[in-house]
């Protein structure tokens, strides 16, 4: 009797496994974003009754999230099938992810997304992650203040930014002693690598390490612009900017205490939210340039399928669905999450919901990737060496010439790459 019951239970158990396939997606924990992905998962389940899609929220703090993912990979856990990964992770996590090109639909899909991101997500010809939403550094500026002080438009160069910030700051200080010209991210963290690579690239100083594996950071253009950025600290930017992250900059900006800000697109809708001191009084533009053309750091998130997944084909299908045109369109309209599909930047519904998408198309397509794929699996070390060196310059512990020379030695030791001109 017991035996029969047992085998019955076995049959039932096996039967359910065969019938219902479960795919678990590890995604962001963020309020609205989480709602969006839960709704998307529901749409997938409605269309594919045999599949259950679970959404698992993970911490918003990138180090915590990466730490968690690594624990899963170390344990070769099959609990999670689809991972939401940062644009700088595909190279580092390559050995745990499957090549998406082996599943139907991805080869065509890859053509629709921004080539720079697809290239970033491709290691040895394998597509390890499908782009989901993108991010790029932008210059926020106060339209009312520019007008008040007689400037026609946002600054095109860093020198212009300095002049404008200084003029506005001096004028505003008369009534507001806490006013600053320009706020940005100067803390010693990944965000400074983004700000730093924007400065360097916009001054024809290369991208720290070139995509073909040459250490280029120790060059006069890079040194010049980093020294220039250091001169902002305490003049047009608060001394505390060397401890600023994204939110510190936004807090100062959104309370109306800054003329310019470098930040990601997320600050746009928050700046225009109810109660914001700058609502309707600002706009965004490409970041200024030095000797070269403007550069915006590429950010954003991708969807990847775990090698340890029990249903990689279903998982890949879920990822493809989540990153599809229709889904990205919903996310763009409801959450102002920047799509990675080029055609969406011409979609009238999207442009109506987020007008700046259209005018900044070039910024998003031309965004500057960090050298994460070429330096994998050592990108974290490379980035840390870079932002530590830049931070030392910003806080006046070293001049840029010494810092970049030392950085070059560090990068040689970390990567073993040759050095050269950008």
């Amino acid at each position: 009797m017991k035996k029969i019951l047992f085998s019955l239970a076995m049959v039932l158990a096996l039967g359910t496994v065969a019938l219902a396939q479960t795919v678990t997606v590890a995604a962001g924990a963020v309020g609205q974003e989480l709602e969006l992905i839960k709704a998307a998962a529901q749409r997938y389940m409605d269309a594919n009754p045999g599949v259950t899609v679970n959404v698992l929220e993970t911490p918003d703090l990138a180090t915590d999230r990466l730490g968690l993912y690594l624990q899963f990979f170390e344990a070769q856990s099959s609990e999670i099938d689809v991972y939401q990964i940062d644009v700088i992770w595909p190279g580092d996590l390559a050995e745990h992810l499957v090549d998406l090109y082996q599943f139907p639909g991805f080869a065509e899909a890859a053509q629709e997304h921004f080539p720079a991101i697809v290239e970033n997500n491709t290691v040895d010809g394998q597509l390890l992650a499908i782009p989901w939403f993108t991010d790029a550094g932008l210059l926020y500026y106060r339209t009312d203040l520019l007008e008040k002080y007689g400037f026609d438009g946002p600054p095109a160069t860093w020198d212009e930014l300095e002049d404008m910030a200084m003029t506005i700051q001096e004028g505003e200080r008369a009534t507001n002693p806490d006013f600053w010209g320009y706020v940005w991210q100067g803390n010693s963290y990944e965000g400074l690598t983004c700000d730093g690579i924007e400065w360097v690239a916009s001054n024809n100083g290369g991208s720290i390490i070139s995509p073909d594996g040459v250490i280029t950071i120790n060059n006069p253009n890079a040194i010049e612009i980093i020294d220039q950025a250091a001169s902002w600290v305490g003049t047009i930017s608060p001394g505390g900017v060397t401890g600023f992250g994204e939110e510190d900059a936004r807090n100062l900006w959104q309370s109306g205490n800054s003329a310019f800000m470098r930040n990601w697109p997320y600050a746009f809708s928050l700046g225009n939210s109810e109660g914001s001191a700058v609502a309707g009084l600002f706009d965004v533009a490409p970041l200024p340039a030095g000797k070269g053309s403007p550069a915006a750091c590429l950010g954003g998130w991708q969807l990847a399928v775990s090698k340890y997944s029990e249903n990689p084909d279903v998982a890949a299908d879920v990822a493809l669905f989540l990153a599809s045109y229709d889904e990205q369109k919903i996310r763009a309209i409801q959450g102002s999450l920047n799509p990675t599909i080029m055609a969406l930047y011409e979609d009238p519904d999207v442009l109506e919901a987020a007008p700046f998408f259209g005018s900044l198309y070039d910024v998003f397509t031309g965004a500057q990737p960090r050298p994460s794929t070429v330096t994998a699996p050592n990108y974290a070390q490379v980035s840390r060496a870079f932002f530590t060196a830049v931070h030392d310059v910003l806080t006046g512990q070293q001049d840029a010439e010494t810092a970049m020379a030392l950085l070059e030695l560090d990068l040689e030791a970390i990567t073993g790459f040759p050095t050269g001109a950008p």
């Binding site: 924990a29 974003e33 968690l68 624990q71 170390e74 809708s269 928050l270 109660g275 001191a277």
Partner: protein
């Protein structure tokens, strides 16, 4: 006169000291409360305001709307309470042996128990995760078990110190009355050290209550088992990168108040202990 002046000065100094310490300990909590009661706009205003201009309960409302946070409160209570009870029980056994008995290998045992907790948490996490996976335990028992890695050495060492301080005469008297070792333990040792047990338990409870890293990892695939610190880490704004400072502050207050109430409840015990705990030597 001179003596009187000195007495008054001493009194003044005493109260001044208490006031200063009180301010130092309480100020950040005050600031968290003020920040939680401000509107978002006032919160980011420069210069900051010392008192909220208009009171807003929005942040608190958001906290109570958050289901995972409320569930976290329950999970945290279950986990921390179980850890505390187990650690006190096991710890007092060990403390009795280490504090009041004679046997070989006492020092090595003490150090072995202490060694459990001498690595940073991050270092043992991967190994512990492997153990938990091998044991195939659900998240809540996993947390209870793994928190012992830091609460048990603490309870063992503290209770050993307290037990050792008890006068021998008391235990000898019990022995003369014919009580065996375990009866002595239950009937003499534990009641006499009750205030110490309460304090130790309280400190261990809070340690377990505040743990984040293990909880984050063990509950990652079991969201219903998340504890408060994890729920709070997953607290975020409507949009990625946005940090809801006001809500985090509000949540911190909502979490802290039950604990303080708990202390007030246990306080009678501690007060009793203070008066009765003066052991007859």
């Amino acid at each position: 006169m001179n003596k009187k002046t000195r007495l008054v000065l001493g009194q003044v100094f005493f109260w001044l000291l208490i006031t200063l310490i009180f301010i130092y300990l309480m100020f950040p909590f005050y600031w968290a409360t003020v920040s939680a009661l401000k509107t978002e706009q006032e919160l980011i205003q420069t210069p900051t305001s010392y008192f909220p201009k208009e009171l807003s309960l929005q942040n608190f409302a958001a906290v109570f709307r958050n289901d995972s946070f409320l569930r976290g409160l329950l999970n945290s209570t279950i986990v921390a309470l179980s850890v505390t009870v187990l650690s006190l029980l096991i710890g007092s056994f060990a403390g009795y042996a280490l504090g009041k008995m004679r046997f070989r290998g006492k020092s090595p045992s003490m150090y072995l128990i202490l060694a459990m907790t001498m690595f940073p948490q991050i270092a043992v996490l991967a190994g512990l995760y492997a153990v938990i996976r091998t044991l195939n335990l659900p998240a809540i028992p996993s947390m209870i078990l793994s928190y012992m890695i830091f609460t048990l050495p603490f309870t063992v060492w503290v209770l050993t110190a307290f037990f050792k301080g008890l006068p021998v005469s008391l235990l000898q008297a019990a022995q003369v009355d014919g009580a065996d070792m375990m009866q002595t333990f239950w009937q003499i040792l534990l009641p006499l050290t009750a205030p110490a047990l309460v304090t130790t338990g309280l400190l261990a409870f809070i340690q377990a209550w505040n743990e984040y890293l293990f909880a984050l990892t063990f509950t990652s695939i079991e969201p219903t088992a998340r504890t408060v610190p994890v729920a709070m880490a997953l607290f975020s704004g409507e949009i990625a990168r946005q940090e809801p400072v006001g809500e985090i502050m509000a949540a911190a207050i909502v979490v802290t108040i039950p604990l303080v109430v708990l202390v007030l409840i246990f306080q009678n015990r501690i007060v009793d202990g203070l008066t009765a705990g003066a052991v007859k030597g």
